[in-house]
């Protein structure tokens, strides 16, 4: 219901607010007019009554006009106060006070004028007295209805279904009593008193709703007390003025009982006076008695706010440090600690101190340790501890109470929060509980913060990988050397994580071509970096006719200084001599060459020795590498590859393996290198049954002509 009306309000925004403003003005004008007509009719009736002249104005008319006046004022204040969402409790009380003040001042001015007039005949004039009475009556009614509307808001601050129902009965009953009043039924005492007492009882029941008082802070309570006291005073004064005024008028008019508007027989006004009075007194007393406990309530509220601050700090704060600061600050302020510190251990040890020097903090820690107080302020402490008794023996320190809390992130103690007080035994159980909640929440915040950092780091790492991948791709040659004696083709595809597969060709002279295939251990940027080093080494060493084992020795020597511990590069280096139709090669820990002898129609792996580059980091490497040589014939095929191919896995976690590689190549020995390559790749994907390869696939196929 409410949300719907809010929605409508928002929808018609400006329009409706303008309209309601216009209505408020109109209601004000109408109430002013009704009051004027009330004054006119009533005074003329009084005049004629005094002069014993019959008038044309019926005697019941002023009563009806008064009720109209009441109804317009009722709606005027209803619109003005009930709809205003921004008003605080004190603002509301202030409005009541201001209205009361205006009413009282006007009434006082009238009294002053009367005093000034002194002995003249005017004050004895019934019409004048009636006029004064009607002004006072108007002021009182305004003040009462205004206060009634405000009290309604206060009573309905935290509403329940029943409260709303009782209020509705009360309000509708009051308005219906106006009709009863307008009818000027012969005054039956029974009905009057029944209604009056019913309204008083309802008013009393409703006056029990004073929840708003709890939400006032200390200062607001004092302000409210003052405003309420003055409101009660105004009420008393206005009621007294009116009763004396009505007394005077009734004395001046012969037929007093029916010739003027007497509020004393008006149920609505009387009930309102009683209700407003009762609620004012109730509020005043409740606020007064609530004063001593206000600080507790405020403290609880502050704890909630502090708790929120800590839990929200993760979203707003830029660093762990600010979370620590907030934790220390809120803990200190919540328990009214005189000093405190937050010691963070771990990678970035830090100490956050509040009103205490680092030295003093260290002294206290030292003192506690010296006294063999187990498990305090050290990493082993898993419980919150009240260590007050141990401080008593520390000389030179003002502090006599200490409370320590461990802070955990993912089950790891990352620090200690210590709070100090000068008075002995001044930490209560509640304080311990709330600060331990803070400490836990701070731990969660830090954990979240670290998770977020990690996610960011991952994001950065992914970005880095992308760059590494681009670098790696660019290191591979766009074109391979061409020769009349052989066809060559290469393929390389890398998994998400960048590998370090490398192949290249370089022409030494018209009959010598060098070829390399290499695999850098590890993945990521370092792999790409080592790969670029390997490319540099290849392009500098393979410029001239170099013996393959010599190439490996020099490459090893060069790499020793840049490969970190545990990293190595496996490589096979070939020099093809098209003049002698011989190939010299050296294998440094790389996958063995798969060779197809066209003449013998046999296919096999070369068996030779050689250990990977970077594994032996001294001159002794030459003992572990050898140059091999073979002669090639037309139709021979040399298949080079990296371990990503042989180690490719299927769904059953079986490896592709050397056997299968051999079989797959055997199927297509007569095809061109490109066709062989395509066949191999196709088989590889069929085998792994997935598009997502988990390693790098690199092959290089050389077919001799």
């Amino acid at each position: 219901m409410q949300s719907q009306s809010y929605h409508r309000l928002a929808f018609f925004g400006l329009n409706s607010s303008m309209r309601s403003k216009a209505i408020i003005r109109l209601l004000f004008a109408v109430s002013a007019i009704t009051w004027l007509s009330l004054a006119l009719t009533d005074i003329s009736i009084v005049l004629s009554s005094v002069s014993n002249i019959k008038t044309d104005i019926p005697v019941w008319l002023p009563g009806i006009i008064l009720n109209l006046f009441i109804v317009t004022l009722f709606y005027y204040y209803k619109l003005k106060i009930e709809r205003d969402e921004v008003l605080s409790f004190v603002d509301l009380l202030w409005k009541v006070f201001a209205t009361g003040l205006v009413a009282t001042v006007i009434s006082l001015v009238l009294r002053l004028v009367e005093n000034l007039l002194g002995n003249t005949s005017l004050p004895r004039n019934a019409a004048y007295q009636d006029f004064v009475y009607l002004i006072n009556l108007g002021l009182m009614v305004s003040f009462l209805i205004m206060t009634f509307t405000v009290w309604k808001r206060l009573i309905l601050y935290q509403k329940s279904k029943w409260l709303l129902r009782i209020w509705a009965v009360f309000e509708v009953g009051l308005l219906l009593s106006l009709i009863y009043n307008s009818l000027k039924l012969p005054l039956v005492d029974g009905v009057f008193w029944t209604l009056f007492i019913a309204f008083i009882i309802l008013g009393l029941i409703l006056s029990g709703n004073l929840k708003w008082v709890a939400y006032l802070n200390f200062k607001q309570k004092w302000t409210s007390l003052l405003l309420l006291l003055l409101t009660i005073f105004y009420l008393l004064y206005i009621v007294w003025t009116n009763s004396s005024s009505v007394q005077m008028v009734s004395e001046l008019i012969p037929n007093a009982s029916k010739d003027f508007t007497d509020y004393r027989i008006h149920v609505f006004i009387l009930s309102l006076i009683v209700f407003v009075g009762i609620y004012s007194v109730f509020s005043f007393l409740v606020i007064l008695f609530n004063l001593p406990t206000t600080s507790v309530f405020e403290q609880k509220l502050e704890e909630v706010v502090n708790f929120q601050r800590i839990s929200q700090s993760i979203q707003t704060e830029q660093s762990e440090e600010s979370v620590y600061n907030i934790l220390l600050e809120t803990s200190v302020s919540t328990v009214f600690a005189d000093a405190g510190w937050l010691e963070i251990t771990g990678d970035n040890p830090n100490i956050f101190a509040y009103r205490i020097s680092d030295k003093e903090a260290h002294d206290i820690v030292h003192h506690l340790n010296a006294n063999h107080v187990k498990g305090i302020l050290d990493q082993g402490s898993d419980k919150t501890k009240n260590l007050s008794k141990h401080l008593a023996s520390l000389k030179g320190s003002r502090y006599r109470s200490i409370l320590a809390f461990p802070i955990y992130v993912k089950g790891v103690n990352i620090g200690t929060l210590a709070l100090l007080k000068e008075l002995p035994d001044s930490f209560t159980k509640e304080m311990t509980k709330i600060v331990s909640t803070f400490a836990n929440q701070a731990g969660i915040s830090i954990e979240n913060f670290r998770l977020m950092e990690e996610a960011l780091q991952n994001e950065r790492y992914k970005e880095e990988l992308k760059i590494a991948k681009t670098v790696q791709k660019s290191l591979l040659p766009q074109l391979l050397e061409k020769d009349n004696d052989f066809d060559i083709t290469a393929f390389s595809e890398s998994a998400d994580a960048v590998g370090g597969d490398y192949y290249d060709t370089l022409r030494i002279n018209d009959h010598l071509v060098s070829i390399i295939i290499a695999d850098v251990s590890g993945k990521g940027t370092t792999a790409a970096f080592h790969m670029s080093q390997m490319k540099g080494i290849f392009h500098s060493l393979a410029q001239q006719d170099i013996d393959p084992s010599e190439f490996m020795k020099q490459a090893n020597q060069a790499l020793v200084y840049c490969l970190e511990r545990g990293s190595f590069i496996s490589a096979t280096f070939f020099v093809i001599n098209t003049q002698t139709k011989k190939v010299k090669y050296a294998r440094a820990g790389h996958c063995p060459v798969l060779y197809y002898h066209a003449e013998k129609k046999s296919i096999d792996y070369f068996k030779d020795k050689g250990i990977a580059l970077g594994m032996v980091r001294n001159k002794g490497y030459s003992n572990f590498i050898q140059t091999n040589e073979f002669e090639y014939r037309r139709g021979d095929v040399m298949v080079l590859y990296t371990d990503g191919i042989t180690e490719a896995k299927d769904k059953k976690n079986e490896e592709f393996g050397y056997e299968k590689l051999l079989e797959v190549i055997r199927e297509v020995t007569e095809a061109s290198p490109k066709e062989m390559q395509d066949h191999l790749i196709k088989r590889l994907y069929e085998f792994s049954e997935t598009e997502n390869i988990n390693d790098d696939y690199t092959t290089m196929i050389v077919k001799f002509k």
């Binding site: 590890g522 545990g566 020795k609 572990f624």
Partner: protein
Amino acid sequence: MGDEANEQRVNINFYKTLKTMVSIKRLQEDGIDFIMVVGEIDASSSIELDLTIAKSVGEGHFKILIDCSALEYISSAGLGVFMSYIEECKDRDIKMVLFGMNEKVANTFSILGLNELLEIAKDKVEAKQMVNGI
């Protein structure tokens, strides 16, 4: 204090490695430090292998036997771990012998040429003889 922290870390690592299909256990027998590697060693689990060997070396063991009979797969990163201890073992006169590896794993070692740099035995008996210098 430092040792305790190390012990804790190894324990934590032990549980962590279970998830990554590898578990590394250690036990001392006849003055020999046995390291049992069960499962697969890839780039991530090689860190645990490294830590375990580092601890063994750090504790001053001179005879280290690595039981590879339950090692199903080893990646280049895992090989790199063994490789990185070759020189240290030589310098400090530590005997480190691997034994019991299956054909596939042994092939991986031999392709890289690590079989020439590391001491590799067929079985535990042979490994013990090698480590005791018989």
